[in-house]
């Protein structure tokens, strides 16, 4: 604790105007980076003593040190440091792929399918229903004018998403292993892609609806084909990178960590420039190494050597970039959406688990594993803002507030679930 206080006090002192004026300091990104790395890690460790996930600590430290509260990181710093997002996302996906064994997944296929299907149906259907039933004038001031159906269709689509990166990070941190862990991870990953596809369909539908051209909703097939092309391209690239990794691990074997870091960086950048999905690419690459070669363990070990600092900075920066202004403005409505989403997640998970005859624990508590939300949802909110100027900006502000709440409570709930199920700590070191 004392180290945390020293660090915080030192940084506050360093940023005092009187000191800055005397010694003539200038802003330094390296200094902010070093501070946030240490501060977030120590904060995470502190938080873990209260049986909370370290990731929540990293995120909270990011919020605390970020531009909205203490201001140790400016908006520009946060934007610059997001360069590590790609690297972290790729590594997270490689770990996730490397943890998935076909044999274990095959057993869970039915359950994953049902969970994804029923969560999606309940959440999107539930939000559309709410849009029709509730007296929404109360919220008009906060979210502006909207036609209920398109607005709630988009809100429901975004609410369906779960953050696979946070899920993987909590699973890695708790060293969880078992049926429930596989189910949650598999569902989160599959759902991520279902949501991306759904989002493309919903967006093209809503766009034509809002524009009113042709008198009714219609599908923009170009958008749909583009999405399919992106998914196909990502899968292909994932296979190529996975194959490359297997060859490297088989024939060269030296400096594996450095090689994987380069691959992670490379695959993220290439996917970005081609419009592919880095998560899918690296997930498949990791999956191939784990299932079609004997080097899965080598891959995970090599990544784990460097993963900690990258995860800390990734979650701290994601915390710093959470829009506290939006949360302050519409926290009541955001809280209502979080609660409704949680309820619908419960109904979807309960139905999916019952239909696939999953364990009682999954039907009762499985919903708690799907609360966290981060990058993908944020990315979709940004697209909505751009594509639907009429109310896109309002929806984005609201979604930012919802993400902030979900990202704080999501990892906590998932950790509690993994501990309760007895799967936390089951993975051998």
């Amino acid at each position: 604790m004392i180290e945390l206080i020293i660090l915080l006090a030192g940084m506050i002192l360093w940023r005092m105007e009187i000191i800055q004026a005397y010694i003539g300091t200038q802003p330094s990104l390296a200094l902010s980076f070093g501070f946030i790395l240490l501060f977030a890690f120590l904060f995470g460790q502190r938080i873990s003593r209260y049986k909370l996930p370290q990731i929540t600590g990293f995120i909270l430290a990011g919020i605390l040190g970020g531009p909205y509260l203490l201001g140790f990181l400016s908006h520009a710093d946060v934007q610059t440091l997001q360069i590590f997002d790609g690297l972290a996302l790729s590594l997270i996906a490689l770990i996730a792929g490397g943890e998935m064994r076909i044999s274990r997944l095959r057993e869970q296929l039915k359950a994953i399918f049902n969970l994804v299907l029923w969560q999606t149906v309940f959440i999107i259907g539930g939000f559309i229903l709410i849009g029709f039933l509730l007296p929404l004038r109360v919220f008009q001031e906060q979210i502006g004018y909207f036609a209920p159906l398109p607005f709630f269709l988009m809100l429901g689509t975004l609410a369906t998403a779960t953050s696979p990166s946070t899920t993987i990070a909590v699973i890695t941190e708790t060293r969880a292993k078992g049926r429930l862990t596989d189910l949650i991870l598999g569902t989160a990953v599959v759902k991520d892609f279902v949501v991306i596809l759904l989002f493309a369909f919903s967006l093209s539908l809503v766009k034509s609806w809002v524009a009113g051209a042709g008198g009714g909703p219609g599908l923009d097939w170009k958008v749909i084909f583009r999405i399919l092309e992106e998914v196909g391209g990502s899968l292909l690239l994932g296979v190529v990178i996975g194959g490359g990794l297997v060859l490297y691990l088989k024939y060269i074997q030296r400096e594996v960590t450095v090689f994987i870091l380069s691959i992670a960086f490379f695959s993220y950048e290439i996917s970005h420039s081609l419009g592919f999905h880095p998560l899918l690419i690296c997930l498949l690459a990791g999956f191939i190494v784990e299932n079609y070669s004997p080097y899965g363990t080598n891959l995970i070990k090599a990544i784990e050597k460097v993963a900690l600092p990258i995860f800390v900075i990734f979650f701290a920066i994601s915390g710093a970039s959470l829009d506290m202004g939006a949360l302050r403005k519409s926290w009541l409505l955001a809280l209502a959406i979080v609660l409704v989403r949680g309820g619908l997640k419960f109904l979807g998970t309960f139905s999916g688990a019952k239909l696939s005859q999953a364990d009682r624990g999954v039907s009762r508590w499985g919903w708690a594993g799907f609360i966290s939300q981060a990058g993908v949802t944020l990315g979709m909110a940004v697209i909505i803002e751009k594509e639907i100027p009429l109310w896109g900006a309002h929806l984005k502000a609201l979604i930012l507030a919802v993400i902030a709440l979900n990202q704080i409570i999501g990892p906590i709930l998932l950790q509690k679930l993994l501990v309760k199920s007895g799967e936390a700590g089951q993975k051998q070191l």
Partner: protein, 405 residues
């Protein structure tokens, strides 16, 4: 994004190249260019603004924390070897040797460089004084990378080789200390804008703060930690220390060296930390060299080429003439051949880091001349080092013959 993609791709290519080429036993300069990492410097030049324009100033600005971290990491790793127990194993005369070696370089190179800069390049006397002092510090730096590889390949494990390795690895301490004095007391750079006392407090701060950080670091790493946690603390502290230096407008090499020295004398985890530092330094240096290459806009005119040639020549002469005389003056327990001084030829990573530190502190626009002279000298010396150092080691066979292995 395109730029970053290309950056990642080139690191990958260079990395794979180094993997395959360094496996060869043949002592060719090409192999050594990979060993010392200088190939990445050339890659950086290719990617930089003057050639492919992939690493544009905007991208470089975004990657600046990595540059600062790389510079700080070199300082920390260098300082970390100054563990009291290790240094005490060697007699004081060896430390005196490294100091006298530094002093002779300081006087000879700065004198010559001053004359050359004022007469050939046409710099003002104040500018030439700082430039020549900085250049003399640069020429006094030594790096053990090439010597290590040669000693490993020719399998020389005698005491003199071990001793030469020790002296080569610690001599740069004086150069970095000199850099600290140059920064605070020369009429250039950002710190000169403030009063003498303020500069004095800056010097005290850049020495005291790393000591404080080192004790904080020691507190943090006292308990049982995993390797990943240790790496995180290392990265965080070096970032913090180098960031403080950047914030104060001073080169990060000096404070991070102090951090390394202080921490290595506080901790008992050296055995766990050394492998970690060694594993991390390769990717760190690759990124550092590429960024440095991209920052550099090489300038080479006739007079500059002549300056570089003359400075390298003087370094050769001083090394051949000085080392064996100094060893006999300090009554070393065994003789050194005149050629053995050439073991001190390469300045490698330390030379590159030092040059960039000076240039960042002076401001890049005014210091491209220094950067060109510094980096071209370092590249030339490192390129010829494999042959020269190998010849020097082999030439000494008759001197070492009687000592046995």
């Amino acid at each position: 994004m395109k730029a970053l993609f290309a950056f990642g791709l080139l690191i990958l290519i260079a990395f794979l190249g180094s993997r395959f080429l360094t496996r060869r036993k043949k002592l060719s300069p090409l192999v050594f260019v990979f060993h010392t990492g200088l190939i990445y410097l050339l890659l950086g030049i290719v990617l930089g603004e003057k050639s492919l324009k992939i690493l544009s100033p905007d991208v470089l600005k975004r990657l600046s924390p990595l540059l600062i971290l790389g510079l700080g990491w070199v300082g920390f790793v260098f300082g970390f070897q100054f563990e009291k127990k290790y240094i005490q194993r060697f007699q004081r005369r060896f430390i005196s040797f490294s100091f006298l070696y530094f002093l002779i370089f300081l006087l000879s190179i700065s004198g010559l460089a001053y004359v050359l800069f004022t007469q050939l390049i046409g710099l003002s006397s104040t500018e030439a004084l700082s430039f020549s002092f900085a250049l003399a510090l640069l020429f006094s730096l030594t790096s053990p990378t090439v010597l290590d590889v040669i000693l490993f390949q020719v399998e020389r494990k005698e005491l003199p080789s071990y001793l030469a390795r020790f002296i080569v690895s610690v001599t740069s301490f004086w150069g970095i200390l000199g850099l600290a004095f140059l920064v605070f007391f020369s009429p250039h750079g950002e710190s000169f804008a403030v009063s003498f006392w303020q500069r004095g407090s800056l010097l005290a701060l850049s020495t005291g703060l790393p000591l404080l950080l080192a004790s904080l670091f020691h507190r943090l790493t006292k308990r049982k930690l995993s390797e990943e946690e240790l790496l995180l603390f290392l990265l965080g502290l070096v970032f913090l220390c180098a960031g403080v230096a950047e914030s104060l407008g001073i080169p990060p090499l000096y404070p991070t060296m102090i951090l390394g020295i202080a921490y290595s004398n506080l901790t008992r985890k050296q055995e766990r930390l050394y492998p970690l530092l060694l594993n991390t330094e390769k990717p760190m240096f690759v990124v550092l060299f590429i960024l440095v290459g991209a920052l550099w806009q090489p300038e080479l005119s006739g007079p500059l080429g002549l300056v570089i040639f003359l400075l390298i020549l003087v370094k050769f002469l001083v090394l051949i003439g000085l080392v064996s005389r100094l060893t006999s003056f300090l009554r070393f327990p065994f003789p050194f051949s005149p050629w053995y001084g050439l073991c001190f030829l390469s300045s490698g990573v330390m030379g590159v880091t030092f040059t960039v530190c000076v240039c960042l502190w002076w401001g890049l626009s005014v210091s491209q001349v220094f950067m060109s002279v510094g980096l071209i000298s370092v590249i030339c010396l490192d390129f010829i080092s494999p042959w020269v150092v190998r010849s020097a080691v082999v030439q000494n066979k008759k001197y070492f013959g009687y000592l046995g292995k």
